[in-house]
């Protein structure tokens, strides 16, 4: 596992904003909005991570999106954390190279209103047809 972390450090070099290891099997890596697409692509295509899911979160002044990758043979879950600078910023979609991310990005778009650039069909997935446009149930002001 350590050589994977080394490779990641080498790949990201200065763009690695934070690396946190929690418990025996979880690693959290924070990267910038600009690098997360490359980095996820690297994790999936070069290092062979299995994309588990993504978690979107409202932090008040922006969004936080976590992409969870499982490395089954090494018993590790590497989570890529991206923080957007504001409520309006967009993220690059992972769906063009990762079909498994298609649904979850649509769901995050539904629930939080984050736009994913380059997604093949960012349509409504999880909310009903009559749900009002521009209302996002998991945003802070809705709770």
């Amino acid at each position: 596992m350590d050589d994977v972390i080394e490779k990641i450090k080498e790949f990201l070099s200065d763009d690695l904003l934070e690396l946190k290891e929690i418990s025996r099997r979880q690693t959290y890596i924070t990267v910038s909005e600009e690098r997360h697409f490359d980095f996820c692509k690297y994790l999936f295509e070069e290092l062979g991570g299995r994309f588990a899911t993504a978690t979107g979160m409202d932090t008040g002044d922006g969004f936080e999106v976590l992409y969870h990758f499982c490395f089954d043979s090494m018993n590790r879950v590497i989570t890529v954390r991206v923080k957007t600078k504001g409520r309006d910023s967009e993220l690059n979609s992972l769906a063009p190279f990762l079909p498994a991310a298609e649904w979850i990005e649509r769901e995050v778009h539904d629930l939080l209103g984050i736009n994913f650039k380059g997604h093949p069909g960012l349509e409504r997935l999880i909310l009903d047809d009559s749900w009002p446009e521009g209302e996002y149930p998991l945003r802070k002001e809705k709770r």
């Binding site: 929690i22 418990s23 099997r25 979880q26 959290y28 299995r50 994309f51 588990a52 899911t53 978690t55 979160m57 976590l66 969870h68 499982c70 089954d72 043979s73 018993n75 879950v77 989570t79 990762l98 079909p99 498994a100 298609e102 649904w103 979850i104 629930l111 409504r124 997935l125 999880i126 909310l127 009903d128 047809d129 149930p137 998991l138 709770r143």
Partner: protein, 399 residues
């Protein structure tokens, strides 16, 4: 240009939190594209979870899916235990293993029965469900309920299984082996089932990796992943068992993987019931510190994945749930396109999403908007194909 027909399938698909509405685009009999719309069963569990205490959430996630009602809580609990650094007592680990494996057996048997129904073998359906009953009875005896067990809790288990019941568990498991043998043989040795399922709905290894599928769907496509082995939780690293894989990726391979897994589960339960140590069943958990953690568990259908974040209060600030079908279902795009529509219902069923979606299929002709096939006709198409194959082989159908 060939005429293109749209077939809506759905909308209901209640096996997990996501319900689905499929639209198949068909040219002649061949499926050329498909679309999925979900939302029908969206209950906003992630939103509700943030209004509940850590302990209450256990019972909420139990109700995400009726069949994974031991796996979801366990994934959530393991995430919280990781976060709080709780050491779970040994006996509780064994109890969790027993309940989770019983759940796997009843789920796989249920699937075998429904798969039989879809290809026109109602006998398999009735038999499989009849032999599933002893498992449910056993679960009721040891947990108090046939389906929602409410067994695990943060720090251990809520209810102990008395040692006097262990011989009974052994006995029920022993009695389960002959009928499971019979069902397995009935499926694996039948030339018609071979003809009907082999080479149908193939999900290649490359596609399985691209779509990141999990569970039996991945294992049948030659991707040897199993959370129970890769990230051992409960008592899975303390007992002997093996991961079943197949390389073909077709519906038949998925059936074989599930059926053989039943025997592995029986083995695990028997060994657990024998080895279970005495001792406390729960550890004290005082408070959940701020932090975040993920937990994953191998449910009958694949990996359930939970992410929990705490700010030190008594409620999670974010709780993300991903059930196995959420990644398995999009792989239909890879396995259904190019198939004939009579194979679609069994291909959809092969990842074990649910039955009632296929019960509500209607075929609509896109030009006239007229209803051409009804829900039943699609299953009938599938059943007729089996019948035709039987007749070609000079066998009597049992109707």
């Amino acid at each position: 240009m060939k005429k293109r027909t749209i077939i809506p399938i759905g909308p209901y698909h209640p096996l997990q939190e996501e319900a689905e509405f499929f639209q198949l685009y068909v040219e002649g009999e061949k499926v050329v594209d498909m679309d999925v719309r979900i939302s029908y069963n969206h209950r906003g569990i992630e939103g509700i979870s943030e209004t509940m205490h850590f302990d209450q959430v256990t019972f909420l996630v139990e109700r995400i899916c009726g069949i994974c009602s031991a796996s979801h809580p366990l994934a959530y609990i393991q995430a919280v235990e990781d976060l709080a650094g709780v050491e779970v007592p040994e006996r509780a680990l064994y109890l969790r293993t027993i309940i989770n494996e019983l759940e796997r057996i009843h789920s796989h048997v249920l699937w075998a029965g429904l798969a039989g129904h879809f290809i026109g073998y109602n006998t398999v359906w009735m038999w499989a469900w009849r032999y599933r009953e002893p498992v449910l009875d056993l679960l009721e005896e040891i947990s108090g309920s046939r389906i929602n067990y409410a067994n695990a809790k943060i720090g251990g288990c809520r209810r102990d299984i008395p040692n006097e019941l262990m011989p009974h568990i052994q006995k029920v498991m022993d009695e389960l082996i002959p009928p499971m043998d019979m069902i397995t043989k009935a499926v694996l040795d039948d030339p018609v089932i071979h003809a009907r399922l082999k080479g149908v709905g193939v999900l290649t290894k490359e596609d399985a990796l691209r779509y990141c599928v999990t569970g039996p769907t991945a294992r049948a496509s030659g991707v040897p992943i199993d959370v129970r082995r890769d990230d051992p939780y409960a008592a899975y690293d303390r007992v002997e068992w093996k991961v079943i894989t197949r390389n073909e990726g077709d519906v038949f391979a998925k059936a074989v993987v599930r059926l053989l897994e039943i025997f592995e589960s029986i083995k695990i339960i028997k060994e657990c019931a024998e080895k279970i140590p005495d001792g406390p069943i729960e550890a004290e958990v005082r408070e959940i510190p701020p932090g975040e953690a993920v937990g994953h568990v191998e449910a009958p259908r694949g990996e359930t994945f939970h992410y929990v974040r705490s700010d030190g209060g008594n409620r999670p600030v974010r709780h993300k749930v991903r059930s196995p079908s959420y990644v398995n279902v999009p792989s239909f795009r890879a396995s259904c396109i190019g198939q004939s529509i009579s194979d679609v219902s069994i291909t959809l069923a092969s990842v074990d999403p649910c039955y009632s979606c296929t019960e509500r299929i209607a075929v609509v002709d896109s030009d006239t908007g007229e209803r051409v096939y009804t829900a039943r006709d699609l299953i009938k198409l599938s059943q007729d194909k089996t019948k035709r194959l039987m007749e070609e082989r000079g066998r009597q159908t049992n109707e």
